[in-house]
């Protein structure tokens, strides 16, 4: 624990010194990133030890805050979320030094690095805090640090808008958490997490509402539909290494909170599982559908985070169902798949956002329809992005497949074992159908994202003049891509590492968890075997092809366009045309707006087609609601004159009133 807290101190120190050195962009980057990398590397040791089931480390120190205490602990669940957080944050910091370099010429970077380091520390603190007040303080610092990072480019109006949306959404979520902690504290008489367990005994009627508050509060951070509206705004607006951290790990603090409170609140009733599965299915399917309709690369990736949070929640839901109905295998596979997907998503989504950042950096635009042909100009970025795209589509032999495999396996087991209980059967079937649909649509979306951006011919001068990213940006991507492959090729050890965390979450005796894990290990090793054979076959076939082509003519020419001799880049299929059949099929949900200026006359001169898919929940739910709130609050305008004297009067009046009230 000491080492861990020392590491956190190093990161804070790095951030502070970057802030002080802010005038020199180079020095700020060096100090800020250096602090983050050193601190994360130091903290990774204790986190790994905690994940693998080392002795529980904890520290309790008094704190002057009412109800607060500085209680922190490193248990396997904390370790499970900390490891990807520290790993990805360190890589993102290295990447950030390269990514922020062009901005350094015109502005000071100290503040950005300070906020980044603060974000890393606050995320880590959220994952180890064991006191309600400390947790909320860390949660709030995390929200504010990321808010300032999201509005890094604050001269742009859309970025400011995104920042406000984020700030409001995150605080609404925190309000629900605050209510949850107040209720828990009231019922148990303490704000220590360890004391919360008694709530089941003292106030059993409160458990249900508490769980709902947790789902809403943490779900806002995680991005459950329809609480996700801030996510597709904020993630694209932030600098790309921050987007990677936010999407890869920060939204997982929501999942962490949910898992922590599943542990704290006691044995779950069955309906929690159903609720989580329902949330998982909606977020998963709608997330990927909304992603399909996007034209901006980072926005598309942000919607995929919603989809992957859905997959994770599906796993958690199945696991909860397994716990509630006393099926250890289902519990272990559901939670195992969901929690492994937390790690996997950090790897591939971090990779994809860093790749998108390299595209922004190299080509100057993230508009998919303006790109194309980047694989030739940015081969490193392109290849890494391809690995990430295949991984997120759940394709073997990469890591995305493994966690989805475990969830699928749990669902199939549930279907088979639960012939009598319709609830589990329906849950299993819905999970299978939803995962299949999500997988197919994700593949559609990522063939689009990769194919249109990196393949074909450049669609604009942005793409034609693109350049490859520097070494500090390439290596983090390559390491993440390698991580995707390693977990995909060796899933059995990866799942085994989760065993201590799974014991905590599933509330099963050690033997039951070990048995279920051993059952799951056989198919996972078979996946390794098939993947090895597959890779060997690839090498063999490559050799056959080389032998066939040796000594034979191999020419290069233009793409065959059915006899048309002068194809141009503008004739290529675009992202919009690629996704059109799908968006048309799901138009009821997507409500894509189409503006068409059709060509007219014998010699048409001008034609235009603009499609745009705004977030249906933002448009149909939140915008009207907030407009209504604003209209209601407009009445209060009579208090607001813009005269300082009057405002001082309000303050004095309030103070007097308070004084009278206390002296009464």
């Amino acid at each position: 624990m000491t080492l861990f807290l020392f590491a956190m101190g190093v990161i804070v120190l790095g951030g502070l010194s970057a802030l002080i050195a802010g005038r020199s962009a180079r020095r700020a980057s060096l100090l800020g990133a250096g602090g983050a990398v050193t601190g994360c590397a130091l903290a990774l040791g204790p986190a790994l030890r905690a994940l693998l089931g080392g002795p529980l480390e904890r520290l309790d120190a008094p704190w002057s805050m009412p109800g607060g205490s500085f209680s922190v602990a490193l248990d396997p669940v904390s370790g499970l979320f900390l490891v990807p957080t520290l790993f990805l944050s360190a890589l993102a910091a290295v990447y950030g030094t390269g990514y922020l370099k062009p901005f350094g010429a015109t502005r000071a970077l100290g503040e950005a690095w300070f906020c980044f380091d603060l974000l890393v520390v606050s995320m880590a603190l959220v994952m180890v805090a064991r006191n309600g007040v400390l947790f909320l303080v860390a949660w709030e610092v995390m929200a504010l640090a990321s808010f300032f990072l999201v509005t890094f480019d604050r001269k742009t109006a859309s970025v400011r808008d995104a920042g406000w949306t984020y700030l409001i959404a995150t605080h609404l979520g925190t309000a629900f958490l605050l209510a949850m902690f107040v209720l828990l504290g009231g019922a148990t008489g303490s704000l220590e997490f360890d004391g919360f367990g008694t709530v089941a005994g003292t106030a059993p009627g409160l458990i249900g509402p508490l769980f709902l508050l947790a789902v809403i509060g943490f779900g806002t951070k995680a991005g459950f539909i329809p609480l996700h509206v801030w996510l597709p705004e904020a993630h694209p607006a932030a600098p790309s290494h921050v987007s990677a951290v936010m999407s890869g790990v920060m939204i997982k603090t929501g999942i962490y909170g949910l898992v922590r409170f599943l542990i704290v609140l006691g044995p779950p009733p069955v309906w929690w599982g159903w609720l989580l599965i329902g949330i998982g299915v909606t977020s998963g399917v709608l997330g990927v559908l909304l992603a399909l309709a996007q034209h901006d690369l980072k926005r598309l990736l942000a919607y995929h985070s919603v989809e992957n949070i859905g997959i994770i929640t599906l796993g958690l839901g199945l696991g909860t169902l397994g716990v509630a109905t006393g099926m250890p295998a289902l519990a272990v596979l559901g939670f195992g798949g969901g929690l492994l997907h937390v790690v996997n998503h950090a790897l591939f989504k971090g990779l994809l956002f860093l790749g998108a950042g390299a595209v922004l950096h190299g080509a100057g635009t993230g508009e998919i329809d303006h790109l194309g042909g980047l694989q030739r100009r940015m081969p490193w970025t392109g290849t890494c992005f391809l690995v990430g795209a295949a991984a997120i589509s759940g394709l073997p032999p990469l890591n995305g497949f493994v966690s989805e495999f475990l969830i699928y396996l749990g669902a199939f087991l549930g279907v088979i074992a639960a012939a009598g209980t319709v609830g589990i059967l329906v849950s299993g079937l819905v999970t299978i159908g939803a995962l299949a649909l999500i997988g197919g649509l994700a593949a559609a979306c990522f063939t689009k994202a990769f194919g249109i951006v990196f393949l074909g011919e450049p669609r604009s001068h942005h793409a034609a003049d693109a350049h490859e990213a520097g070494a500090s940006m390439r290596w983090p991507m390559a390491i993440l891509a390698a991580g995707c492959a390693v977990v995909g090729l060796f899933p059995a050890p990866a799942l085994r590492a989760l065993a201590p965390a799974l014991r905590l979450v599933t509330r099963q005796p050690e033997t039951a968890v070990a048995g279920a894990l051993a059952d799951a290990a056989t198919p996972l090793w078979m996946i390794t075997a098939v993947a090895t054979v597959f890779l060997a076959a690839v090498l063999l076939l490559a050799a056959v092809r080389r032998k066939c082509l040796a000594g034979r003519p191999v020419e290069e020419t233009v793409t065959w366009d059915c006899g048309y001799a002068r194809p141009t880049a503008r004739m290529q299929y675009t992202a919009s045309s690629y996704a059109q059949p799908l968006t048309e099929l799901f138009r009821l949900v997507l409500r894509t707006r189409v503006r068409l200026v059709a060509p007219t006359g014998l010699f048409p001169s001008r034609a235009m087609l603009v499609t745009e898919t705004p977030d249906v929940f933002r448009e149909a739910v939140f915008r009207p609601a907030f407009v209504g709130i604003r209209r209601a609050l407009d009445r209060l305008r009579i208090l607001q004159h813009g005269r300082i004297q009057l405002y001082v009067l309000y303050v004095v009046l309030t103070l007097v009133a308070l004084m009278v009230w206390t002296l009464r």
């Binding site: 759940g394 997988g439 593949a443 198919p523 054979v533 034979r552 290069e556 233009v558 299929y573």
Partner: protein, 309 residues
């Protein structure tokens, strides 16, 4: 014969049968279609000769393409081989089988599709983009049908390995659960025509690029690359056909030779049926196909309900 040698042979036979006989399915389909249009059709070994000819040719690549275009056929064929290794031939179990192999099977099909689509987009041709766009739409809709259909069989047979599931579909089971199994077979049949680009979803012999789906995605490939793609397509037809025939022909005598014979007869009938369908109907309009595939999923769900009954 020693026990080990016997085991080795049992493992090698299903794989070797598929590898050797898969292209023959194409001949059978071609002959049936020729019969319906009053022609003789191609010689029995024509697909093999075609592959041999292509392997001996050079290649021409578009200047737009990258290594991905060249890797596409290799990865696709390698993934098809892995699929084949997990596919039982009726009562004869597959060399590779484990709990949940059906999920690896389904996702390897996804990998084949992914790499084909990406290689097609690598050419920058709008025709290939169009084909790719349709392919991903139809396969995304076919995936739930495949997995829910398999879930129905898993529920009925209480197993989640393809070899066990297919082996458990016996004649007695057809007698008790006939309607459910029938619905699954229809759903899997629709998945088969979608995955293999057959009528009524796609027409493999069309000559108009605008109307193609799968064929248009491989327009730019030639030489050994095209040989890999064509062989891979034949193997994929074999693999999905094997799954369908395994469900539909419940001959489980316990004698490997008899079982294999019945299975091969089933494959022959399947090829004839595909030929008859392709001779007697036109492909559907593209806008209708999603309805067909959603219908397939609905049939699979109905099968689950019938199993529970």
């Amino acid at each position: 014969m020693s026990h080990l040698a016997w085991t080795m042979m049992m493992m090698a036979v299903p794989l070797a049968t598929g590898l050797l006989l898969a292209p023959l399915l194409l001949t059978v389909i071609n002959r049936v279609k020729a019969f319906f249009s009053g022609r003789w059709g191609q010689p029995l070994l024509q697909p093999y000769l075609d592959l041999w000819k292509l392997l001996g040719k050079g290649a021409t690549y578009s200047r737009t393409t990258t290594w991905i275009f060249r890797a596409g056929p290799i990865v696709g064929l390698a993934a098809t081989l892995a699929v084949l290794a997990m596919m039982p031939l009726g009562g004869v179990p597959a060399p590779v089988r484990f709990r949940g192999d059906l999920l690896l099977f389904a996702n390897l099909l996804g990998l084949i599709r992914f790499i084909t689509v990406v290689a097609a987009l690598d050419t920058g041709s709008s025709f290939e983009g169009m084909g790719a766009s349709r392919e991903v739409l139809f396969s995304a809709l076919a995936e739930p049908a495949l997995l829910v259909g398999l879930a129905a069989v898993a529920l009925e047979t209480r197993s989640i390995s393809l070899s066990d599931m297919v082996a458990s579909v016996t004649a007695e089971r057809w007698l008790t659960q006939g309607p459910a199994l029938g619905l699954v077979v229809v759903a899997l049949g629709l998945v088969l025509v979608t995955e293999n680009a057959r009528i009524p979803v796609d027409d493999p012999t069309t000559h108009l690029e605008l109307t193609m789906i799968h064929e248009v995605m491989v327009l730019d490939h030639g030489g050994p690359d095209l040989a890999f793609i064509l062989y891979g397509a034949a193997l994929k037809l074999w693999a999905l056909g094997a799954l369908l025939v395994g469900m539909a022909v419940p001959v489980r005598t316990g004698n490997p030779l008899l079982d294999l014979g019945a299975f091969l007869a089933g494959m022959l009938i399947l090829a004839v049926v595909i030929g008859v369908v392709e001779s007697s109907m036109a492909r559907l309009r593209l806008l209708r196909i999603p309805k067909l595939l959603v219908g397939a999923t609905a049939l699979a769900v109905l099968a689950v309900v019938l199993v529970l009954r």
